[in-house]
C-alpha cells in the first residue's frame, strides 16, 4: 500500500510536469499562472500521497502551507498585473 501511494505521488508529479509545458507555450501570462496553480495543487496532492505513503506526517503540514502559498503566488501575480505601469505604493 505504501508503495502504491508513493507511486501515485510520482504519477501526480508527472502530470504536473506535463502541465508545466503550458508555462513554455502559454501565449498569455494568465496561462503561465495557471500552470503554477497546477504545480501548487499537484504538489499538495503529491505531498499528501508521499507523506501518508511514507509515514511522514510532517508532509501533511507542509501541504497545508503550500496550499496557502500557492494562493498568495496567484494573488501577487494578479496584483502585479493590475499595477502594470504604475509605481509601487
Amino acid at each position: 500500500m505504501a508503495a502504491f501511494l508513493t507511486a501515485s505521488a510520482a504519477f501526480v508529479m508527472a502530470m504536473v510536469a506535463l502541465g508545466l509545458l503550458r508555462v513554455l507555450r502559454g501565449p498569455g501570462r494568465a496561462d503561465r499562472v495557471m500552470a503554477v496553480q497546477l504545480l501548487g495543487t499537484g504538489g499538495i496532492a503529491a505531498l499528501l500521497l508521499g507523506g501518508v505513503g511514507g509515514g511522514l506526517w510532517a508532509a501533511v503540514d507542509f501541504a497545508l502551507v503550500l496550499a496557502l502559498l500557492a494562493a498568495f503566488a496567484a494573488v501577487a501575480f494578479v496584483d502585479g498585473a493590475r499595477r502594470a505601469g504604475r509605481p509601487d505604493p
Binding site: 500500500m1 501515485s8 501526480v12 502530470m15 504536473v16 494568465a30 496561462d31 501518508v52 498585473a81
Partner: protein, 96 residues
C-alpha cells in the same frame, strides 16, 4: 487487501485520472478561459478524491481532519484565485 485498502486504491486512481484530465485539458484546450475551467475543476476534484482515498489510511481523527483541512483550503484558494485570474484574462483580452 482490506476493504479500506481497496477503497483507497480506487479513490487515488480516480484522483490521478482527474489530474491527468486537468493537465491534458490545460495543454489541449483552445483559449485561456477553457483551460482555466479545465484546470480548476479537474484538479480540485482530483485532490478531493485523493484526500478521500487517504482518509482510511490515516490513524486518528485529528490527522483525518487535517487532511480535510488541506483540501478545504485548496478549494477556497482555488475558487477565489480563479476569479482573480479571470479578471486579468479579461483585461488582457480588452487590451489586445
Amino acid at each position: 487487501m482490506t476493504a479500506a485498502d481497496i477503497f483507497t486504491v480506487a479513490c487515488v486512481v480516480a484522483g490521478g485520472f482527474f489530474f491527468l484530465a486537468g493537465s491534458v485539458g490545460l495543454l489541449r484546450f483552445p483559449d485561456a478561459l477553457t483551460r482555466l475551467h479545465a484546470l480548476t475543476k479537474a484538479d480540485n476534484l482530483g485532490l478531493g478524491l485523493i484526500v478521500l482515498g487517504l482518509l482510511p489510511q490515516v490513524d486518528g481523527v485529528f490527522a483525518a481532519l487535517k487532511l480535510v483541512a488541506v483540501w478545504l483550503i485548496a478549494q477556497l484558494a482555488s475558487a477565489s484565485v480563479t476569479q482573480l485570474v479571470v479578471s486579468v484574462i479579461r483585461r488582457d483580452e480588452d487590451a489586445a
